[in-house]
């Protein structure tokens, strides 16, 4: 009887120990898995927040950059508008130059003479606008003093120009364009740079921007 009891007790004791070990193993295993999972989740969560900080910086930078861009664009538009106004004014004043004979006639004479010299032909045909054609007789007296043996003819048809002249050979195959329009066009890049510097120079507003 006592032997049987001891035998059954051993069986149950061994089973109890085995059962406890199974549960302990499961608890240890799950605790370990839980700890690992926590580390992994924490990393994942930190990455989300870290990315958010990077995104936030990008969002902020983009908004400021867009504001800068809009501002720059507005500034450029305003500057262009003012420069256009100035160039328009210069063009207008150029077209009115002819009314100031004291200033215009010497200039026209010079434009014609330099055109004739550049042409290098025995006969030069001078093309001017309608208003200057009407001044032809006084111009004829002035032009030619420095031209030596070059014969000067005046084209009867007026040209469309603010002023100045086109000098051509007899058959019109060579043309030297010394009109104010052409001068304006040719000088436009320089005028634009000059206008911008003159209008918007911050360093020294009194400095001559063309020098």
């Amino acid at each position: 009887m006592a032997e049987t009891d001891k035998f059954t007790e051993d069986i149950l004791k061994t089973a109890r120990e085995k059962a406890e070990s199974i549960i302990r193993d499961a608890q240890t295993e799950t605790q370990h898995a839980s700890d690992e999972a926590k580390i992994s989740i924490t990393r994942e969560a930190e990455a989300i927040v870290r990315n958010a900080h990077a995104d936030a910086d990008a969002v902020k930078r983009r908004q400021i950059s867009e504001a800068r861009h809009r501002t720059k664009l507005r500034e450029q538009q305003e500057k262009d508008k003012i420069v256009e106004e100035v160039l328009g004014q210069v063009r207008k004043r150029t077209s009115e130059l002819a009314a100031d004979e004291a200033r215009y006639i010497p200039m026209l004479t010079h434009l014609i003479e330099s055109g004739v010299k550049e042409l290098r032909e025995k006969t030069a045909v001078i093309h001017v606008n309608k208003a200057d054609l009407e001044r032809m007789s006084s111009l004829t007296q002035r032009v030619g003093k420095s031209l030596g043996s070059v014969r000067v003819e005046w084209a009867k048809e007026p040209i469309q120009a603010m002023g100045g002249a086109i000098v051509s050979n007899v058959d019109g195959t060579i043309r030297i364009d010394n009109t104010l329009d052409q001068k304006f066009e040719a000088l436009q890049p320089k005028l634009l740079i000059g206008a911008r510097a003159s209008l918007f120079s911050e360093m020294n507003p009194t400095r001559d921007p063309f020098e």
Binding site: K38, I41, A56, A67, R70, R74, V86
Partner: protein, 106 residues
């Protein structure tokens, strides 16, 4: 105790032992299952918190960026106004200067 009784007692004990181990295995399985569910729940909760924190950070940065951009544009507008006024005051002089360049006899 007869021999038959002795055998029965031992068989009962073995049955009880087998049940103990079986129960323990079931409990271990339940523990594993509980932890899977707990980890999953914990993951969802932590990630939801992180996502909310991320949304707050982005929203705050967006608001700060808007304020800074507005301030920048306000200051730039004032600076531009002043630039336009200065340039407008210089327009006539610029026209005269450009006219001189255009009409100067080389």
């Amino acid at each position: 105790m007869s021999g038959i009784e002795t055998v029965r007692v031992i068989v009962d004990a073995e049955k009880q032992a087998a049940k103990m181990i079986d129960d323990a295995m079931n409990e271990a399985a339940a523990i594993r299952k509980r932890i899977d569910s707990l980890v999953q729940q914990q993951r969802q909760q932590m990630l939801a918190e992180a996502k909310k924190q991320a949304d707050d950070i982005t929203a705050r940065a967006g608001a700060e960026g808007r304020v800074e951009a507005e301030q920048f544009e306000k200051e730039a507008k004032e600076a531009l106004q002043s630039l336009v006024e200065r340039a407008s005051a210089r327009k006539d002089a610029a026209v005269e200067k450009l006219l001189t360049i255009l009409t100067q006899v080389e």
